[in-house]
Symmetry: C2
Subunit: 363 residues, 2 copies
């Protein structure tokens, strides 16, 4: 049921998840005059520092979930692994955006690939794998190398293993949990790009410019905008991202990652994965866009007009991982915008913040 009246100032937005994405969503909501209530099991969540309203409880604690739903007007989340039962429980009590349907698709690599492919948007060739026999048959179909992945709960390179040789199949199959798995053909991609797209509860759709992404140790390292790709390819990526949110009847911001694959005449695009939330590769929008992805998400779920995603400058976003964040003040001279997440423990591999290096457009 489309929401027809924009929600007013002071609306209490419930956010599942208290990490940096929840924190940045809360800050954006505050800028629009809204209030936020963070729900997270971890009492040290960075998002707890930016609002007085919190629930510390497990995601399957129905009493806590019911009280949370009572305390808020609308619910969103910062991570795609919200348990389906939790999403259903909450959606029965208050509007949940993005909806349980989008979550179910995005939580499962097999459903996701089937959904996207059914819209005539290309994905890497893949095969479902429930048994070792299926894996061996899939290897014969797709050839090696290939990537075996869990269908659920993977992120930042976790839950996947590259298979170079048929002899590795048994160990890889045993190792990866939970089942079922999916085997994906190895894609000899030239680069990775992503598009952050928004659809509002009124049906309006807008996409940000594509970012070109570089990963280090399976964690996003930099996003550079504009991406160094042909204009036609960027347009195609935006069209695909928009088609996906429309097909999902989606409300909120969604990240779509693509591989750019060399072709005989020109490069082509394959969707790698989608994320039903604000996306690390969209953090550059905060520094240079008329409206950033966090505000866009909040506008979308409130039924407000979407903001103008136009970009005022070129930019390189760089993640600060682990100790990178400790000497942040040394990185700042020269027009660098920092964003730190207020995490107290800079463990190796932990996302502690990011910086945006802004390059004003030539006059």
């Amino acid at each position: 049921m489309p929401q027809t009246t924009p929600l007013p100032q002071g609306t209490m937005i419930g956010i599942l998840g208290g990490g940096q994405l929840g924190r940045m969503l809360s800050l954006a909501a505050s800028k629009l005059g809204m209030r936020t209530h963070i729900y997270c099991p971890d009492s040290h969540s960075p998002a707890f520092e930016v609002t007085p309203h919190r629930t510390i409880a497990a995601y399957d604690d129905e009493a806590a979930l019911a009280a949370f739903a009572d305390a808020v007007d609308i619910i969103t989340y910062e991570f795609e692994n919200v348990p389906a039962a939790t999403a259903e429980f909450l959606a029965a009590r208050k509007p949940l955006h993005p909806g349980a349907n989008a979550l179910a698709v995005a939580q499962d690599r097999l459903k996701e690939k089937a959904f996207i492919a059914a819209r005539n948007i290309a994905v890497a060739p893949y095969r479902p794998v429930e048994t070792l026999d299926q894996l061996l048959a899939a290897i014969d179909d797709l050839a090696l190398p290939a990537v075996l992945k869990t269908t659920r709960l993977g992120y930042d390179g976790k839950g996947q293993r590259v298979i170079q040789d048929r002899s590795e199949a048994g160990a890889a199959f045993e190792q990866l949990q939970p089942k079922p798995l999916v085997l994906e053909a190895f894609v000899p991609f030239e680069k990775e790009i992503s598009v952050v797209v928004a659809r509002s509860s009124t049906g309006e759709v807008k996409a940000f410019d594509a970012a070109e992404n570089v990963h280090l140790h399976h964690i996003l390292h930099t996003s550079t905008v504009p991406a160094n790709i042909p204009a036609a390819l960027e347009k195609q990526a935006a069209m695909a991202a928009k088609a996906i949110v429309i097909a999902l009847n989606y409300v909120g911001v969604l990240g779509v990652e693509f591989f750019v694959v060399p072709g005989a005449e020109r490069p082509t695009l394959l969707v790698n994965e989608i994320a039903p939330r604000v996306h690390n590769s969209g953090h550059w929008t905060e520094a240079v866009c008329l409206t950033d992805q966090f505000e866009q998400h909040i506008r979308a779920i409130l039924g407000w007009p979407l903001g103008n995603p136009a970009r005022l400058a070129d930019v390189v976003m760089e993640n600060l991982i682990g100790d990178d964040s400790l000497a942040v003040t040394e990185l700042l001279p020269g027009g660098v915008q920092p964003h730190l997440y207020g995490k107290t423990d800079p463990r190796p591999g932990r996302k502690m913040g990011h910086i945006n290096k802004i390059v004003p457009k030539a006059e």
Copy 2:
């Protein structure tokens, strides 16, 4: 004593005052990974919605002030009327920025004008007024019309009265409280501009571009950037603003309001007043600058490198007063950036939010 080491992530910043300026300072501090503790007597303060750390107490409650000082690492404020005793009490316990000295100057129109004039920066002609006889003598000196003002606690047109005729002197003198007063020559200004300038605890100084301000009913209505003034005048305004923060040994962001007065050959500048805090006429920086005034203030008091104040686009900031904010979503199409303060009661004359209308620079 200059602070030599930048304060780290997680620093607890105490903020006196819980209005929209305190709220926006808190949001900016959160973006840098800091925590904030808001101190305000009013339990409905908008800033209480953006941090879990609060004290609700009077500004002269020494037990509450002592506990607040214990709970924070550094203290700043959103308003210039912090009582001197409060500032001294806190400054004895934790670093207070801007310092008690700057506050004492900015709280008193007479001290302020004398301080600025002593730096060879022009102010409107003025006379101190402690008695009605002094007022009548001052009227003879400065001629009419002239503006009689309190030296303390005035804002948004409160605490002042225009005198058109000598016969009004007695009533105006009786009416205005507290004494002493100051009589200012009426300045036939062409326009008003302002410059927001920052000085860090390490001594670094940077100014934002000048804004051209239009007031309605004594309340700021719009700030337009760039100001439509000669480049030499804009440069002079920036130099004056920088000279003031250097002379005050100031730490933080300061707003300087100027009158642009027609001259025989070219217009000249008179300082109208200064405000030792982030300034309503600097709200445009949030939408189009590499670093905005709120982040700049936080960087300054933390001893971080100041941010680049460069502007990526032209902009018009418009305040939303009273009911203006209720239909904010109707104002948004076309690249308008809203900022609402989360106030629940849109009383007439109350600042409820602002919008920034952004005009990208021609390519």
